[in-house]
């Protein structure tokens, strides 16, 4: 294993009777990175994370994890009738029974996760956002090098989501983090690398910037024009190398909206704009649609 790789997964498969949950997935997580793990529901994210944390065995393939793993499952594994402090001390005890710095470690992790002011309260009485924090604290308390978080922001209100996001930002200094999420906004803000999985197969994996870069080769132009017809489509297709040109007229307006998908390298926006400003067409509005992660997600998952 290379020195800067924290998790190395090689052709990992998991099959249940009659169903393949993971099909030879291969990717790696760099040390000190925040790695986003994306995919629709049932794609195999949780299964992968459970295998990595040692909860269930793999069917075939192999993986290497360099260091201790702290794991937050989909539902925070908390005891509702324990206080936050007692609970974290208990988790510390069962995960590192030979260590003696319990008090400091628990106080430290409560400080980090912002739980110090609720340490005397029963976990069952806390809000969902706080329970999620307790779940994260539980994954941190035995000071693992790698933290795996399974949908840490699911079901939380926007404020709580922002807080969890801040927390992850804070943690990224000391830990390698692999987390799954549906919040693409989170991914764009937090992650340096992403892996997209669908139907148990890796769709794309790598540094976020590169993946977004790769998308810029395609360009989607939306325009509003005075008039447009099939002949214009043919003319455009002949003149520029376009993937598609769609047009539809809005029933309550006189204008026609255009959607042009073009290859960014070979077509210049200017030329297309000049074509559309022709008298017979009459350009009213012209804009390029920004392809963000959401688009990628939709396109790749389809």
């Amino acid at each position: 294993m290379e020195n800067n790789i924290a998790i190395d997964i090689n052709k990992l498969s998991k099959s249940y009777p009659g169903r393949v949950a993971l099909n030879e997935i291969t990717f790696s997580v760099k040390k000190g990175s925040v790695h986003g793990f994306l995919g629709p529901n049932g794609a195999g994210k949780s299964t992968t994370m459970k295998i990595l944390s040692g909860l269930i065995p793999e069917s075939s393939g192999e993986f290497k994890v360099d260091g201790k793993v702290g794991f937050l499952p989909e539902h925070p594994p908390v005891y509702p009738n324990m206080t936050v402090e007692d609970y974290l001390q208990f988790v510390f005890d069962i995960y590192s029974p030979e260590k003696s710095n319990k008090k400091e470690a628990v106080a430290d992790v409560m400080e980090k996760t912002g739980l110090s002011n609720v340490k005397e309260r029963l976990i069952g009485n806390l809000s969902k956002g706080y329970q999620q924090r307790v779940g994260i604290a539980q994954a941190l308390v035995h000071s693992p090098e790698i933290i795996i978080l399974d949908e840490p922001t699911v079901g939380l209100d926007p404020v709580a989501i922002a807080e969890i996001r801040d927390l992850i930002t804070k943690l990224k200094k000391d830990h390698t983090i692999l987390f799954s999420t549906h919040q693409l906004h989170d991914v764009e803000l937090l992650c340096s690398d992403i892996t997209l999985i669908n139907h148990g197969k890796i769709v794309v994996t790598g540094p976020l910037e590169k993946i977004l870069e790769g998308l810029k080769t395609r360009m989607v132009i939306r325009a509003r024009v005075g008039s447009f017809c099939e002949a214009d489509v043919k003319k455009m297709m002949a003149q520029f190398k376009l993937e598609s040109v769609e047009y539809k007229s809005e029933p309550d307006k006189k204008d026609i909206t255009l959607k042009i998908v073009a290859n960014a390298n070979e077509n210049s926006k200017k030329d297309i704009a000049r074509f559309l400003t022709d008298d017979s067409i009459g350009l009213l509005e012209f804009g390029e649609e920004k392809l963000d992660l959401e688009e990628v997600f939709k396109q790749m998952v389809q």
């Binding site: 040692g54 594994p77 009738n81 069962i94 995960y95 029974p97």
Partner: protein
């Protein structure tokens, strides 16, 4: 270190148990039933018969205590694994430094402590008897031991059933069915004409071994029976916990 790890979980379990009202409700119910039975047996013992105090009070009171625990043990053990499964905290334990066997032992010990807590209230009976001049302490001691061994067997069954499901009601009903079923095997013993079969089935039932203790008999094969009974259900529980890896 092995015992220390068990101790961590036992401490947490007992904290949980004595924090919840269930143990106090069960204790209250148990004390009420036992006290009522003891009072009645004492009254009956007043009439002049050839029966000794041991026969008239001790034997039936411990027989009843054992039978009551067939109902109470499923209620005590039902939450052990079922609740952990429901709260998804079982994974937390299984991922930790504790081995599966340590988790089972910790759950077993904490349930046993709860039962000891309940039984400790009945110590008032020997005290009352002592004040009225009763002195056959050997039988009382062996009866307590018999009840305790039976209850340990019940707890082992209860833990296994609890590890099968995340529904506490299913767990307690299943435990109850297995315990009652093992008691009803006595009927087969009485019904069959095959002497050998009767002996074998008789050996398999808990009450047969328990009866020896109430009579003050320590039979070595009864100890082996209880040890293997508990060991067998520990093994089943262990397999049930490991089944997630199948």
């Amino acid at each position: 270190m092995y015992l220390k790890k068990i101790g961590i979980l036992v401490k947490k379990e007992l904290g949980d148990a004595f924090f919840s009202p269930l143990i106090y409700i069960l204790s209250g119910l148990f004390c009420f039933m036992m006290g009522w039975l003891f009072f009645n047996y004492l009254l009956q013992a007043k009439t002049l018969t050839t029966a000794t105090m041991t026969q008239a009070v001790i034997t039936p009171i411990f027989g009843n205590m054992n039978f009551i625990f067939v109902f109470l043990c499923p209620l005590l053990t039902m939450r052990s694994f079922a609740e952990e499964r429901k709260q998804s905290t079982l994974d937390l334990l299984l991922r930790s430094e504790l081995s599966e066997m340590q988790i089972i032992l910790a759950k077993f010990i904490s349930n046993l402590v709860m039962v000891l807590f309940m039984i400790s209230f009945t110590l008032v009976f020997p005290i009352i008897l002592a004040l009225s001049g009763y002195s056959d302490w050997g039988v009382v001691g062996s009866s307590y031991l018999g009840v305790l061994l039976s209850i340990m067997a019940y707890i082992a069954v209860g833990l296994f059933c609890s590890s099968l499901t995340d529904n506490q009601i299913v767990a307690s009903l299943l435990t109850f069915c297995i315990l009652l079923g093992s008691m009803l095997m006595v009927i087969t013993v009485n019904a069959t004409n095959n002497y050998l079969l009767a002996l074998i089935v008789q050996y398999m039932t808990v009450p047969f071994h328990y009866e020896g203790f109430v009579k003050g008999l320590f039979r070595s094969y009864s100890f082996i029976y209880f040890a293997s009974f508990i060991g067998f259900f520990f093994l089943l529980t262990l397999k049930s916990l490991q089944s997630r890896k199948w």
